[in-house]
């Protein structure tokens, strides 16, 4: 029995040990991959990445066909969590000024195809290193280095801003060195742009400053840099000899050419008294002719050169004095119906009393003068925007014969009268002092009177009616003439005859640049003449004035201005054109009344 049991146990052990045991291996040759061959770029930077504000860095990772396991971004060894969709986002202020290491850790599959690779237990790892340079400090100021004339334009050079927190340059231009704000000429976001061609510079002096704007929007303006260079200058004014012309007062004003020819737009020439007002668009033209120059005062000529940009002009002034004074002559209407009211805004002025009121007027510049029997009272009123009546008082009773110089040229104030002995002129210069006022006999060329005393009534008086600014200069000159009664035989009654005919008086001007003795009045013209009258000049000016010409007179209730031409008796062939006369006449029945107080019976002509 034991044998049987032993047998069974043996069989049993065989049974349980007979389990199938699978065998076999399948070794596959797989090439190991040990080194990473992928590349990484951060916003195309190779090493140092500038950071100035809110920053977005684009991570361009090329891992070929591998699978990315993990990508970590570390700044200052601190992993950042703002990496998303290949972009790293942060702000410079989170880091602070200076350098900060940026590390990019990349882990991918190995791509070997091995068992471990398939089970993501094998990979490649690489680190990429960059340096973040953070610049958030305020920008520093820049200096303009120099300037030059670059092919007729002004080139400004300034320092390059080398820091990374650059945003833009702004170039300013100033016309003086005060604290006034400049004009923004130019702005550039190109950091390498360190020059600018200014086409608004035409020479002369101005200032430039360059500003730099940082990425944080902070703007620092550098010091002003003075630029001064040659500009078009007035050189001379010379008389032009014109043999075929009777005009002997033609002058030529010349100037130097601007060096900034590419910026040139035009020359503008002007002067006081409206003598010259010209524009020259040809840069090669460097002279203009000037006509009708007044005598006896400085004439400032002004040359303004305009660049292509109409700001930044260069201006030059040349003063010129033509010596002998030249005068104008006007008469003033006596209007008896106006009482003590002086309507200065009217073309004519009459003064009936030493006490009066000047009614409101606007933008009128009226000097007026008064002759008395032995004195001349002369007053100037320079007023702007006077809206209220202005009262003034003359010291003396004033005779009714008045001579009034209407203002034609700024600051030009004359007084003139005519007698058998000559023409008398009171000239008031630019200044208001007594020395600038004289009475002058144009025939004898002698000063026959001077200011005895002057009165300043409300000089520099300022009122502000209705809130408006008012300037009033009222100066009364009392001029004492030598033997005035004998030399100035003004017919008072003559004016009285014309009373009631306000407006029908004559206005008469004479240019005395031609000596009266050599002058004849040979024609008189008007636009509306339908008949001609010749008046012997002697009848108007007296026998002692050897005028032989006749005057054409036109009769109308509103007489036109009549132009009288003078011809040199000594040289009639040349027939120089002299300055025109203007006169106004009134014709009543057969009598011609002139504005000078003379009357002419036409039947006697």
């Amino acid at each position: 029995m034991r044998v049987i049991l032993l047998f069974f146990l043996l069989v049993l052990s065989i049974l349980v040990s007979c389990e199938f045991s699978p065998q076999g291996v399948n070794p596959v040759e797989v090439e190991r991959v040990d080194s990473a061959f992928f590349t990484l770029k951060v916003s195309d930077y190779s090493d140092t990445i500038p950071v100035t504000g809110h920053t977005i860095l684009v991570v361009d990772l090329d891992i070929k066909n591998l699978e990315l396991y993990e990508l970590n971004i570390l700044i200052n060894d601190q992993k950042i969590n703002t990496y998303n969709q290949n972009e790293i986002k942060f702000h410079a202020e989170q880091l602070g000024q200076g350098f900060h290491p940026l590390k990019v850790q990349v882990t991918t599959t190995s791509g070997s195809g091995s068992l471990a690779d398939v089970y993501n237990l094998e990979g490649l790892y690489a680190e990429f290193y960059y340096t973040l340079y953070v610049d958030i400090d305020p920008p520093h100021s820049l200096k303009i280095i120099d300037f030059s004339n670059e092919n007729g334009m002004l080139k400004i050079n300034w320092e390059r801003y080398n820091r990374i927190n650059f945003s833009s340059y702004i170039l300013y231009k100033f016309y003086n060195n005060t604290n006034s704000s400049g004009i923004q000429l130019f702005a550039s976001t190109n950091q390498n742009t360190t020059e600018y061609l200014d086409n608004s510079f035409i020479g002369g002096e101005c200032y430039y400053a360059v500003a730099v704007v940082s990425s944080q929007g902070v703007k620092i303006v550098g010091d002003k840099f003075r630029v001064y260079d040659n500009y078009a200058r007035l050189k001379d004014i010379k008389k032009v000899d014109l043999p075929d012309s009777i005009d002997d007062s033609v002058y030529e004003l010349s100037w130097s050419k601007t060096d900034y020819y590419n910026n040139f737009y035009k020359y503008k020439l002007s002067s006081y008294y409206e003598i010259l007002n010209a524009e020259v668009f040809d840069i090669n033209t460097t002279s203009v002719r000037v006509y009708d120059l007044p005598f006896g005062r400085n004439i400032p000529f002004i040359l303004t050169t305009f660049p292509a940009q109409h700001y930044g002009t260069a201006t030059d002034t040349l003063n010129f004095n033509f010596g002998e004074p030249t005068f104008e002559y006007n008469s003033v209407t006596h209007n008896p119906h106006n009482g003590n009211t002086y309507y200065i805004h009217q073309p004519y002025l009459s003064i009936l009393s030493s006490n009066g009121t000047v009614s409101s007027f606007e933008n009128v510049y009226i000097p007026y003068s008064v002759f008395s029997k032995d004195k001349i009272y002369m007053s100037t009123i320079d007023a702007l925007e006077i809206h209220n009546n202005v009262s003034f008082q003359l010291e003396e009773k004033i005779p009714v014969s008045l001579f009034y110089q209407s203002h034609k040229r700024g600051g030009f104030k004359d007084l003139i009268s005519v007698s058998d002995n000559g023409i008398f002129v009171a000239a008031v210069g630019e200044s208001s002092n007594n020395d600038s006022v004289i009475v002058y006999n144009t025939i004898s060329k002698k000063v026959i009177g001077s200011v005895f005393r002057s009165y300043s009534n409300n000089r520099n008086f300022r009122i502000t009616p209705n809130g408006k600014h008012v300037i009033l200069d009222n100066i009364l000159y009392e001029i004492e003439l030598d033997n005035l009664v004998e030399k100035l035989s003004i017919n008072k009654s003559g004016w009285q005859q014309y009373s009631g005919f306000a407006g029908n008086t004559a206005l008469f001007t004479i240019d005395y640049s031609v000596y009266p003795a050599c002058v004849k009045i040979y024609s008189l013209m008007s636009y509306q003449l339908d008949e001609e009258f010749y008046i012997n000049a002697t009848a108007l000016f007296g026998d002692k004035i050897p005028f032989e010409s006749k005057i054409l007179v036109y009769d109308t209730n509103t007489p036109p201005n009549i132009t009288i031409y003078l011809v040199d008796l000594l040289d009639q062939k040349s027939k120089k054109l002299c300055k025109a006369f203007e006169a106004r006449y009134f014709l009543s029945q057969d009598t011609l009344y002139s504005s000078f107080g003379y009357k002419v019976n036409l039947n006697d002509l």
Binding site: V3, L12, F20, Q23, N26, V28, R32, G113, S114, L115
Partner: protein, 235 residues
């Protein structure tokens, strides 16, 4: 294992009782069998094919050793008895490279308990040529084993899952036995058909996966003959 041992002892006890009254034989057979295992081969193919790597199947349920114990009553020309057999086969799909190794094994064991009947076609002297049939219930145990190792990472993991099923097979066999005194040796061959099998039941649940033990069998056997009463050959 305890289940099989328990079953074996029960049968042994029952047979021992019979030994008192019958001539009976007890023999141990050892041989080889082939197994169809259609479902499991399909599973193995899937294991190999679902990988990116070049897995190969090195074992695919090959013919493998089997052994059995027969307790039979000898009636002269025929003999019948109890069959207790054990058989096993399996499969392996594997891959290895420099980085690691991965094996996927299936091992299936079958424990048959059944009855057989052999009829002697020739029974002459000590030789007996016989033909027989058998019907067995078979308890199949399937082990799904997987091992993976990553050398550089020093990672090694394995897993095993077991499932059981039960089935029924029938077979026919032709054998020859030669007796020397109380011993006999023999050679036996046949075919087993395994038409009925339940799906394997794993811890996670029952699957549709079935064993298929159908296949040829060939074995050699050695046994003892016992006579009832006096003169029993072995005791």
């Amino acid at each position: 294992m305890i289940f099989r041992l328990h079953l074996f002892l029960c049968l042994l006890t029952g047979l021992t009782v019979k030994l008192q009254a019958q001539n009976f034989n007890i023999n141990y057979g050892f041989g080889i069998g082939s197994y169809t295992m259609t479902d499991l081969k399909k599973l193995q193919e899937d294991n190999a094919g679902n990988n990116k790597l070049d897995y190969k199947t090195t074992e695919d349920f090959p013919s493998y050793y089997r052994s059995y114990l027969h307790f039979s009553l000898d009636f002269g020309d025929d003999f019948a008895g109890l069959n207790l057999s054990y058989q096993s086969t399996g499969a392996r799909t594997t891959y290895s490279d420099y980085s690691g190794e991965h094996t996927i094994d299936q091992i299936i064991n079958g424990l048959e308990i059944g009855l057989f009947y052999n009829y002697s076609i020739v029974n002459r002297n000590n030789s007996k040529l016989y033909f027989g049939m058998q019907a067995n219930s078979i308890i199949s145990t399937l082990k799904l084993k997987e091992e993976i190792s990553f050398f550089e990472q020093h990672i090694s993991e394995s897993s095993e899952e077991r499932g059981k099923s039960i089935g029924l097979n029938i077979g026919a066999q032709l054998g020859y036995r030669y007796s020397i005194n109380s011993f006999f040796i023999g050679l036996e061959g046949g075919y087993v058909l395994n038409p009925v099998n339940s799906g394997f039941k794993f811890n996670e649940g029952k699957s549709k996966l079935k064993a298929d033990w159908s296949g040829y069998r060939i074995s050699v056997t050695i046994g003892l003959k016992f006579k009832s009463g006096k003169g029993a050959g072995a005791g």
